[in-house]
Amino acid sequence: MISMFSHPFMVYALLGGTGIAAACGAVGFFLVLRAQVFTGDALSHVAFTGALAALAFGVDLRIGLFTATIAVALLLGALGRRGRADDVVIGNVFAWILGLGVFFLTMYTTNRSGSGSGNGSATINVLFGSILGLSSSQAQTALWIGLGVVAVLLFIARPLLFATLDEAVAAARGVPVRVLAFVFLALVGAATAEATQAVGALLLLGLVAAPAGTALVLTDRPFRGLGVAIVLAVGEMWVGLTLAYLVPRMPPSFSITAVGTFAYAAAMIYRSVNRRRAAVPASAASTASPVFPSPSRVRLRPSTASTTTHNTAAPHAKY
């Protein structure tokens, strides 16, 4: 275990991975709350095309990644009403973007350095990530970008949460809902582009959706949930990297995603067991004040308690 830190590539992976995971956890929490996971998914495919386009034109891969991802993030926001894109629009746009990705892939394979495994592994790296291949400077960049995304997100977290939970009321109170939506999408684009280098375009949802989904299962309080999502994402990254180190044949992208999935499954089981135990006295909680309270006291699922009692009481009706 200790020898893990004697390998510079592991240290860089942990360093860069921490920043990436923190950014993904934070961004993912709001993506899940806003039911925009599909947007994140589409952006990861855009990252693939952007990276391959950069390779095809002989530019640095990261330039293509960031430009394409952030630009399309803003475009998707512009296409939809109130900064949220329609899912059929997303589907159409990104199906085409993937086709373009294949186009750049062919261009890259025919124009650059003949054929063979070298190009094949370029695609594999973009699609599935290569966190163990991060250099010292790449790891530092990843860490700073990650922390930057988290900082900006924390700065806008309160109004963004308000706009997410009740858009109409937030707009009426003077919260700039549309601007927030665009800033948020740009942050998603940046986090997606950065994370693509670590876990790849295809596995990104493991870092974005899994910790956030788990946090939502574990807590109803929004800011606590945000914290839990970030901590879980970073923890999953560390555990996944350690597993990949201990089991050499296991690709790190797999272990990171798998840890996230198992954490989610464990949280689901924990909740269903807990709910069954606490089903009876829960009805008192549902009569909370109907007025919108200060955001830190908001519950994300105000109806949870009452639906639980209905679900468990109605069908069985033992009493």
Partner: protein, 304 residues
Amino acid sequence: MPTDSGLSWNPVTDIDQMWQLDSMVSAYRAGTIVAVLAAVVGWFMVLRRQTFAGHTVALAGFPGAAAAVFLGVSASWGYFGFCIGAGAVIAALARNGKGGMAEESALTGIVQSFTLACGMLFVALYKGFLNGVNSLLFGSFLGVTSGDIAVLAAVAAVVLIVMALIGRPLLFASVDPSVADARGVPSRMLGVLFLVVLGATTAEVSQITGSLLVFALLVMPAATAQRVTARPALSLVLSVLFALAVTWFGLGAAYFSPYPIGFWITTFAFGCYLLANVYGFFARRRGTGRRRVAEVAMTVLGAS
């Protein structure tokens, strides 16, 4: 794609030249079957707003095929097993859309990333398979044999018969679940059945187009058709026609150019979608799009 074949700009000789190749002929046969199937099932997918679920089910084909190759079984088994399985998992865990959009989309995302991660694991375990990944993800129209076509046709026939049987109640349940429920339509069961059918379809289509590009044939022709007209039967037919045209032109363009089939199909389909949007923008008063389709569907269903 053969690069020595130039375009002579004489359609007859060009098509004749293309038809000389057995692989092109079988690619056209397979493409036709796949296009019809994807257009019909995709039409319902778009109407039901299940594009994210469809995308996830489609991606499950990749680990399925990778696992099958790793275990030494035919890739078809892997495709069908994993795609149908993913459809069933999403149908079983998502609580009828009422359990909160947030949790349902998180769940779909987690299913997707985990199945893909498994695919990555199988590829890593099976050394030397690295070059096959691209063709699993992006497809290879030219490797289709006549035996494959027979299997494709058989599965397509079964899926289309099932769709013909459940089409009407499914349409009802898709456009207005609560009224359909009240009238005694088993919309929950239909939803599960539809996701399984969607799984079978994506499994079939992704053997040709690859896991990443199935989605283009599922979503684009259907979205285009629903933009053009609000009448359910007409837009279903249009969806099939769009899919056929896009596939045929895509195959032809790929044959005469050095660029891959997936690029051409998605580009043509996206072009159609953009044109349909422009058309829809100018013909807005006649009303197209999903909500209008649902309204017209209700009157059609209610009239008889």
